[in-house]
């Protein structure tokens, strides 16, 4: 019974197979309901709490049990389930299956299976009815203009949100499962004829080829898709906003939704996707472009300022005016620890405050930020543990870090910031320049699903004028370079 691969025509044996697989009756969540349906017996298998019991009662059980006792008498035994589906059951999405593993997986996902005496097939019906969070506002991707709804944890709801925006017959949804022992349902959404099939195939193969026991969240699925696990920057673009995911689809990207995660992944992605926000497209092009430059400046300050401060102070004092230099040395002279250690501690303290504020519950998080920032900073300067100029440098750098649109990208840039800090302290501007070139070379050689991460800039590819400058809508005509092109180029 335990090794059964397919259903057999004996109802009692099939029920025994499911009992064995689910551990019933010890496993109290599993419902196996046997009932008379016309001239033969049938059974329903479902998991309590995952299904809509009212729908099962009204649309499956009641109509089947109300059938006359002679109903289905003349039907072939192997067509009995099909007979019930045709004459009694009124549930819309359904599939006929006989593989036990697949049926068990479906039942665990909230569907119910109907089996009948004498028939070796089961009908799996979508009767999901578990509790889920309602559609809320985005938590991370705040916008001033544009829609204010975000994905939720239900994959079905998320697909619906996308379909409501992208009302095109080409929008295709494929379901794949990730993980070995504990399977997670993922949906691949793409526009047929726009997305490159090779990309779809690559994503499908990478998700289905997962050999780990589980990949539960979209973050884990992202790690299955990416090509450079050692890289510091993400290779898929993540969003919690349906409108942004819809724009990915229109561009020719494949969107991956993961059951249980309120985020969508867009792949292939370029480095420039990581720098854009949904607001850029909602605004007039001048405003969008200006804000992009502001964000870029913020990011540059975030990454380079602490390293520059250290390298100027330690190696290139000639770059500062004598007055400023005197002031810097006067304040630094009172600090008992080396300037590199001082900068490292302050940067880490900033990250600590940031992380604590993020994890602390609700209003406490805000209070924590203010208390840590004002009291600790002020006290550290008064106690001559840090110099005031360094405090300004770290604060400005931290502020710049908040301009980074993606959370994953911002963490990557924090690590890069520490690398530049160390390089600045050890080799001044020379080491910082070398590190920058090394990182740029690595970035230029990276790929996302086989497409260059730095395209369309290097290598040159055809694309919209929407990289740093965002030109007016009338120029935004081309599809992304990784999509299928429609005009022979």
């Amino acid at each position: 019974v335990e090794d059964a691969v397919t259903l057999c025509p004996v109802l009692a044996r099939n029920i025994e197979v499911f009992r064995s697989r689910f551990g019933a009756p010890t496993n109290a969540d599993v419902i196996i309901r046997r009932f008379q349906s016309g001239a033969f017996e049938s059974a329903i298998i479902a998991v309590d709490g995952m299904v809509n019991t009212q729908q099962i009662n009204e649309n499956i059980l009641k109509p089947c049990m109300d059938l006359p006792t002679a109903a289905g008498e003349d039907e072939k035994r192997e067509d009995r389930v099909a007979f019930l589906m045709g004459h009694a059951v009124s549930v819309l999405p359904m599939k006929m299956k006989n593989n036990v593993d697949e049926i068990v997986s479906d039942v665990l996902g909230g569907q119910c299976a109907l089996i009948s005496e004498g028939c070796g097939m089961a009908c799996v019906m979508d009767t999901r009815g578990f509790e889920k969070r309602t559609i809320g506002k985005p938590e991370v991707e705040h916008v001033v203009l544009g829609p204010h709804e975000s994905f939720s944890e239900s994959i079905r709801t998320n697909i619906t949100l996308l379909r409501r925006i992208v009302q095109r017959e080409e929008l295709t949804t494929e379901f794949v499962t990730a993980g070995g022992a504990m399977k997670t349902r993922c949906a691949l959404l793409y526009l047929r004829g726009t997305a490159d099939e090779t990309m779809v195939e690559r994503i499908r193969a990478r998700i289905e080829g997962c050999t780990y026991d589980f990949a539960l969240t979209s973050g884990e699925v992202e790690q299955l898709i990416e090509e450079h696990p050692l890289a510091l920057i993400p290779q898929c673009v993540r969003t919690e906003r349906p409108d942004r995911a819809a724009s990915f689809l229109a561009e020719g990207q494949v969107v991956v939704l993961t059951d249980g995660s309120p985020a969508a992944l867009g792949a292939p992605a370029t480095i420039f996707h990581q720098l854009h926000t949904p607001d850029d497209a909602s605004m007039r092009w001048q405003y969008g472009t200006f804000l992009r430059f502001v964000r870029l400046a913020g990011m540059l300050i975030h990454v380079f300022l602490p390293g520059l401060y250290l390298s100027v102070l330690r190696f290139h004092q000639e770059l500062l005016s004598p007055m400023l230099l005197t002031s810097v040395y006067e304040t630094s002279a009172r600090v008992p620890i080396p300037v590199y250690l001082e900068a490292l501690l302050m940067t880490l303290a900033f990250d600590l405050i940031n992380e604590a504020g993020l994890r602390a519950p609700g209003a406490m998080g805000n209070a924590l930020g203010i208390v840590s920032g004002l009291i600790l900073g002020q006290s550290a300067v008064s106690a001559d543990i840090v110099s005031p100029l360094l405090l300004i440098v770290v604060a400005a750098s931290g502020l710049g870090g908040f301009c980074v649109p993606g959370y994953a990208m911002s963490i990557g840039l924090k690590i890069v910031q520490l690398m530049f800090l160390t390089a600045g302290a050890m080799g001044g501007l020379y080491a910082m320049s070398l590190l920058l070139i090394v990182l740029l070379c690595a970035l230029c050689s990276m790929r996302s699903l086989g497409s260059p991460l730095t395209a369309p800039v290097a290598p040159g590819r055809r694309g919209n004028p929407d990289i740093l400058l965002r030109l007016p809508m009338k120029y935004q005509k081309a599809r992304a370079f990784f999509a299928k092109q429609s005009d022979g180029h």
């Binding site: 190696f315 320049s433 070139i437 070379c441 970035l443 050689s445 290598p459 022979g488």
Partner: protein, 355 residues
């Protein structure tokens, strides 16, 4: 929908464009290094005139490489190409170290600057020729334009002093310097090797057209021209009388554009940009050398015995340099003209194979 061939052809063209941009940038940087290292001691402030000889040489070499690209010569030809490219890499790394010691790392121990530089170049090369070429492509306008702007906006008063005498110490020395400079065109040889990212371009990439000969020549000449302009700036910034005093090569590499060189942020930016060009030259040469090595021994893993060998070779050379100084390298550099002339001829003799 387009047929796949059109898309693939665009990708192939873009790969070669990146490669050609890298070659142009490398020749430009090498012209400056040869000019300051070899031509300046011979022709003094007319070294830039001697560098003009590189223009036709580089153009001819680019045309020859375009003609021979995708042909499979003997292993000896690849070995010669490998050695030529490695010598270029060593030359660039040595110049970089000398330059850093004279400018940004004056108080730093030599071993530290050598280690940091070699590690950085090896790490750049570790990302593969594809990454370095793409970076060169991305910087193809930005880098030369910034350098030229920074130089020329801060040095107008110095031009008359440094420009004359126009022929420097005389025609004979000028001719000798021009001959020695010809080896500076050797980075163009990297165009003999197919770009590594062609593997991703599609199945029918081998059948696609390469960019035209004119494109290759234009790219290389642009780079060479930028290098000559920079050398011109270095020559005119140092007067005829004082040029012999800057004995150290690293010292000559610095374009003393400002009256107060140590107090100028533009001067520091200029130095950083020059260094960027040198790092890109060294890592491009190292990557190309590794690709040549892979052509000799095709079963090497990509992660990469070739690079390891290159790294060891580079490190050994640098140890030699620290023992004997830059003079050996500067004396050996003019010899580069020999393989630069021989390698394309060896490549040209063989029949076509799929790229």
């Amino acid at each position: 929908l387009p047929n796949n061939r059109t898309v693939t052809e665009r990708r192939v063209q873009e790969s070669w464009r990146s490669r050609a941009c890298a070659a142009g940038l490398c020749v430009g940087a090498q012209v400056f290094l040869f000019g300051t290292g070899i031509a300046m001691p011979i022709a003094l402030n007319s070294a830039w005139l001697a560098a003009l000889a590189v223009l036709p040489a580089a153009a001819c070499l680019a045309a020859a490489c375009r003609k021979s690209a995708g042909k499979a010569p003997s292993r000896a030809a690849y070995a010669l190409l490998f050695l030529t490219l490695m010598l270029n890499a060593v030359f660039a790394v040595s110049a970089l170290i000398g330059f850093a010691e004279q400018t940004l790392l004056e108080q730093t121990p030599a071993l530290w600057s050598v280690t940091v530089t070699v590690c950085a170049v090896a790490l750049c090369a570790l990302s593969g020729g594809e990454g370095v070429s793409r970076l060169c492509f991305a910087l193809r306008w930005l880098l030369p334009v910034l350098i030229v702007l920074l130089v020329f906006f801060s040095m107008p008063m110095k031009i008359p002093d440094g420009l004359f005498p126009l022929m420097g110490p005389g025609a004979a020395q000028l001719g000798m310097a021009a001959l020695c400079m010809l080896g500076a065109s050797s980075p163009v040889l990297m165009l003999l090797l197919p770009p590594p990212d062609l593997a991703f371009a599609g199945e029918d990439a081998a059948a696609c057209q390469l960019p035209s000969k004119a494109f290759f020549i234009r790219r290389v000449l642009l780079g060479t021209g930028a290098g000559i302009l920079l050398l011109f700036a270095a020559c005119v910034c140092t007067t005829y009388e004082s040029i012999g005093e800057s004995a150290a090569w690293g010292m000559r590499l610095r374009i003393v554009a400002s009256d107060q060189p140590h107090e100028g942020i533009p001067q520091t930016i200029l130095i950083i940009l020059q260094m960027t060009a040198m790092v890109l030259l060294a890592s491009s040469m190292l990557c190309a050398a590794e690709e040549a090595l892979l052509q000799i021994k095709g079963n090497l893993k990509r992660m990469r015995l070739g690079l390891l060998l290159s790294g060891i070779f580079l490190f050994l050379t640098l140890i030699l340099l620290t023992a004997f100084g830059f003079e050996i390298l500067l004396a050996a550099a003019p010899v580069l003209i020999v393989p630069t002339a021989v390698v394309p001829a060896l490549f040209g003799k063989r029949k076509d194979v799929p790229r």
